[in-house]
C-alpha cells in the first residue's frame, strides 16, 4: 500500500496546483501520475528553551558547554546566514533562542571576549535588519556591528590558512574563529545537506577553500546532495572539517524545524487538491487568479511579507558528527516519503524562493539551481527520475536579475553561457578570472552582492542533474531566449510538454510530480 503522501491520480482528479515563480498555476496531469506530497509537520517541541539548555548541558561526544568556559577566554560564535530557512522563520528564530542561552551561560562564567560571526561564506552579506530578525533585538543591540558581523571571505588580513588535507584541499578560515579558544556553531538545519562539517567549512572559509569541493568534478560525483553518504561534496567537506577540528575547539549546536512553511490561511497549499474543502478550493482559485493578475513586484512583496511559522523539532549539541547524525535522523523523519520505482517524467513547480534569493527575484541562473540542483536532488536511494528522463518545470524564466545581490550572475548568464554551458569548460576558461573581478569583489565586500565565484558554483550545482536528466521542458516561459541559454525546451502548456516527452512513438510514461513547497524528499527504492 502506498504511503498516504503518495497519491496516484485518477481520471477525475482535480488539477494539481504548482508554483511558477511567484504565481500559482493549475496543471491537469494524466491518470496514473504519482503525486508526492510533503508529510504533515512534525509536532514542535513544547519548550524549546528547555531543549536548548538540555542539549548544551548533555552534549553528544563532548563535555558540556559550561565545562568548556573559563574567564578571560576568547570565544567565537558562528551562526548560519539568511540562506535558510526559506522563507525566513517567524520571530523568534531558533538561533536567537540558542544565542540568548549560550550568551547568558558565557556571562555566568565570566567569558566576555565574544564575537558573533554570521557565517556567510561567499554568500551575500546580511543586512542589519535581517541580522536583527535572526538574532533578536537584545543580541543585536548589544553586539552589532563591532562584535556581531558578517564574515568577509575577501578580507585577506582576517583569513588564515589552517591546514591542507592529504588530497591537497586547503582550509583557509576566519582568523578570529581560528584564534579563539572555543568556537560555538549555532545552526538551523533546513535540509539534510545543511549542517555537520559543512557549517564551518563553507560558512567561515574562502573562495580558495570552497573551490576544493564546489567544482564540476565533485558535483558530478554526487548521488543526491541530500544523502551525505553518497555525496562527494559531503565527503570532501567532512574530510576538511575533520582535519580542521583537530586544530580547533568546536562545540556544535544543531537544530531542526518542521515543514510548516505556510501559516493557517495558506496551509492548504501543501494538501492533496482532491482533499480540499469548499472554502479551501475557493481560496485556491482566488489565489491562482490573483497571482496571475498582480504585477510581479506586488506578488513578491506579498510573499516577502510573511515569515514562516516553522516549529522547532529538535536540538542537539556537542561533537560535530555525533550531533549531525541526530539532526539528519529528524530531517529524514520530516521529509522522506517512500516511493517504489523511478519515473520517466518528473513534474515540478519552481517556487519563488531559493536559498540565494531571499528578498530578491529568482533569476534565470537560480531557476536552473532550483530545477537541476535542488528539486532533482530531493531523493534518497535512487533518483526519482530515470536516467535520461524528462524534467518538466513550470516557471516564467523571466530575464530579470536583482542588480544589488546578483550583479555577477548577469554577466555569467549573458556573457558566459552564450559561449558554453559546459561546466568543466566554464571552470577552466573563466572561473578564476571572474572570481577575481575587482568590481564584483568590491560589490561583495561593501554591498550585498554574492561573490562572483558564486555564479559559477550555482551553475555547477545543477551539474549532477544535468548529467542525469535527458531534457528539461519549461511550461509557461515568457521568453525563448533564457530557456535556450539554460539548455531547456519550452512548451506552452503541460499537455504540450507531456506530448513532447512521449515522443513520436507516443510511448506510455510513468509520471511523477514532486509537490513542493514545502519540501518533500522521495525515498526511492527500485
Amino acid at each position: 500500500m502506498n504511503h498516504p503522501c503518495l497519491v496516484t491520480l485518477e481520471k477525475d482528479s482535480a488539477p494539481r496546483v504548482l508554483f511558477a515563480g511567484d504565481k500559482l498555476v493549475e496543471a491537469d496531469l494524466p491518470k496514473g501520475t504519482r503525486c508526492i506530497y510533503p508529510k504533515p509537520p512534525i509536532s514542535p517541541l513544547r519548550d524549546v528553551d528547555a531543549a536548548i539548555r538540555y542539549a548544551i548541558n548533555h552534549p553528544l561526544g563532548s563535555d558540556p558547554l559550561y565545562a568548556k568556559l573559563r574567564p578571560g577566554m576568547k570565544l567565537t560564535i558562528a551562526v548560519d546566514d539568511i540562506s535558510l530557512p526559506l522563507p525566513p522563520m517567524r520571530r523568534p528564530d531558533v538561533r536567537e533562542r540558542v544565542l540568548e542561552i549560550v550568551l547568558a551561560l558565557c556571562a555566568d562564567h565570566g567569558v566576555d571576549d565574544i564575537e558573533i560571526i554570521v557565517a556567510t561564506g561567499i554568500h551575500r552579506k546580511m543586512k542589519a535588519n535581517e541580522v536583527r530578525h535572526m538574532v533578536g533585538d537584545r543580541v543585536f543591540e548589544a553586539y552589532w556591528p563591532d562584535r556581531l558581523y558578517n564574515h568577509d571571505a575577501e578580507d585577506k588580513d582576517t583569513m588564515v590558512e589552517v591546514a591542507t588535507t592529504e588530497h591537497g584541499e586547503v582550509i583557509e578560515m576566519n582568523r578570529r574563529a581560528v584564534e579563539s579558544d572555543l568556537i560555538v556553531y549555532v545552526n538551523l538545519n533546513f535540509v539534510p545537506m545543511d549542517g555537520g562539517h559543512k557549517s564551518l567549512m563553507c560558512g567561515l572559509t574562502t573562495y580558495r577553500s570552497l573551490a576544493s569541493h564546489h567544482n564540476p568534478e565533485t558535483i558530478r560525483s554526487c548521488d543526491s546532495y541530500m544523502d551525505p553518504k553518497k555525496s562527494e561534496l559531503a565527503t570532501r567537506v567532512t574530510r576538511m572539517g575533520r582535519l580542521a577540528n583537530t586544530k580547533l575547539n568546536v562545540f556544535t549546536v544543531e537544530t531542526t524545524i518542521n515543514n510548516r512553511m505556510f501559516d493557517r490561511p495558506l496551509e492548504f497549499l501543501a494538501k492533496n487538491e482532491d482533499d480540499l474543502d469548499g472554502r479551501e478550493r475557493a481560496m485556491l482559485k482566488g489565489l491562482v487568479a490573483t497571482t496571475g493578475r498582480l504585477p510581479q513586484a506586488a506578488r513578491q512583496a506579498i510573499f516577502d511579507r510573511f515569515p514562516a511559522p516553522y516549529g522547532v523539532t529538535g536540538v542537539w549539541a556537542g561533537e560535530t558528527e555525533a550531533v549531525h547524525e541526530k539532526t539528519l535522523e529528524r530531517c529524514y523523519e520530516q521529509y522522506l516519503v517512500p516511493v517504489q520505482g523511478q519515473a520517466d517524467v518528473l513534474v515540478c513547480g519552481i517556487p519563488y524562493i531559493g536559498p540565494y534569493n531571499v528578498h530578491a527575484f529568482l533569476n534565470p541562473l537560480l531557476v536552473s539551481v532550483q530545477a537541476q540542483g535542488y528539486l532533482f536532488n530531493f531523493y534518497r536511494g535512487a533518483p526519482l527520475l530515470k536516467k535520461g528522463g524528462t524534467l518538466i518545470i513550470t516557471h516564467p524564466c523571466t530575464d530579470k536579475f536583482d542588480h544589488e545581490q546578483h550583479a555577477p550572475y548577469i554577466d555569467f548568464v549573458h556573457r558566459l553561457l552564450p559561449e558554453t554551458r559546459d561546466a568543466v569548460e566554464l571552470h577552466k576558461r573563466f572561473e578564476k578570472k571572474f572570481a577575481e573581478d575587482p568590481a564584483f569583489i568590491q560589490m561583495y565586500r561593501t554591498g550585498h552582492a554574492y561573490h562572483p565565484a558564486h555564479a559559477f558554483f550555482m551553475w555547477y550545482w545543477g551539474e549532477n542533474g544535468r548529467q542525469h536528466i535527458g531534457r528539461v521542458i519549461v511550461v509557461g516561459a515568457d521568453n525563448e531566449y533564457i530557456p535556450k541559454l539554460l539548455g531547456y525546451e519550452t512548451a506552452s502548456s503541460m499537455d504540450e510538454a507531456l506530448y513532447r516527452a512521449r515522443g513520436e512513438d507516443n510511448k506510455s510514461l510513468d509520471i511523477a510530480c514532486l509537490h513542493v513547497p514545502p519540501i518533500v524528499m522521495a525515498d526511492v527504492s527500485l
Binding site: A407, H414, P438, A439, M443, T446
Partner: protein, 222 residues
C-alpha cells in the same frame, strides 16, 4: 595584461580639483599675495560655476589659470602638504582595498585625473597604484603660465587617453576595467570591457543599472 583606470575625484577621494587649488591660493608666500590671488580667484568663481555645468575642460582651464605666476619650486614644495592636509584625509575608506584588489589581480592600475600630476603621483603612491595620467601645468622659466599642457585631462579626452595608454602598453581594452563616480565619465567607462560605477551620481546609477554594470559604494568600510 589588463589595466584598471580609476577616476579620482569623487571616486577614490571625496575632494575635487578646487580643494588643492584653494590650499595653494591660501598658502602664498605673504599674506598680501594670498589676499590678491584669492581675490582674483573669487572674481572668476561665477564663470567657473557656469563652465562646470557646461564644459569640464573650460572649467579646468579657468581653475588652473589661478596658478599663473606661481613658481614651480613652491608648487612642488607645497605638494606634500597639499597631499597630507587635503587629499589623504579625503581618501574613501575602501579605496585602498579596491586598488589593492586590482593590483592583486595582476592589473596595471592607472589613476586618470584632472588633478595636477605632482599631486596625483603622491596619491597613487599612497594607494599603491602604478601610474598616473594627470594634468600638467605649463611652465615658463620656472613659473606657471596658468595654462595646462596639452592634452588636457578632462571629459571625453579621458577615453582617448585610455585608448592610447592601452595601445601603447599592449592592453586589450576588452579586458580592462574603468571606475568612475560621474556620468560625465561615460566615454571613459564605455571604452573598456569592464566598466564600474563607484559612488555613482543619480544619472550614472541609472545607466549602470540599465547596462548591468557593477555599482558600489566606497564611502563605507569594507
Amino acid at each position: 595584461m589588463a589595466a584598471s583606470y580609476f577616476d579620482v575625484d569623487g571616486t577614490l577621494v571625496s575632494t575635487n580639483l578646487v580643494h588643492p587649488t584653494l590650499f595653494y591660493l591660501l598658502n602664498q608666500g605673504t599674506p598680501v599675495q594670498t589676499a590678491l590671488r584669492f581675490g582674483r580667484a573669487l572674481f572668476k568663481a561665477p564663470a567657473m560655476g557656469v563652465a562646470e555645468m557646461a564644459d569640464r575642460r573650460t572649467f579646468n582651464e579657468l581653475l588652473y589659470s589661478s596658478y599663473e605666476g606661481m613658481s614651480e619650486d613652491r608648487l612642488v614644495l607645497l605638494a606634500e602638504e597639499v597631499f597630507e592636509k587635503v587629499l589623504r584625509p579625503s581618501v574613501f575608506p575602501a579605496a585602498r582595498d579596491l586598488v589593492r584588489q586590482n593590483v592583486d589581480s595582476g592589473h596595471v592600475v592607472v589613476l586618470i585625473s584632472g588633478a595636477l600630476d605632482f599631486i596625483a603621483k603622491r596619491l597613487a603612491d599612497h594607494l599603491g597604484a602604478h601610474e598616473v595620467i594627470a594634468n600638467r601645468l605649463e611652465m615658463k622659466e620656472g613659473y606657471a603660465t596658468g595654462k595646462l599642457e596639452k592634452p588636457v585631462v578632462a571629459g571625453p579626452e579621458k577615453a582617448r587617453l585610455i585608448r592610447e595608454h592601452a595601445r601603447r602598453h599592449g592592453h586589450d581594452l576588452d579586458d580592462c576595467y574603468a571606475f568612475s563616480d560621474s556620468y560625465s565619465d561615460l566615454p571613459m567607462l564605455s571604452v573598456v570591457g569592464h566598466p564600474a560605477a563607484v559612488n555613482p551620481d543619480p544619472r550614472l546609477k541609472l545607466l549602470a543599472k540599465a547596462y548591468s554594470w557593477p555599482s558600489f559604494d566606497l564611502r563605507v568600510s569594507s
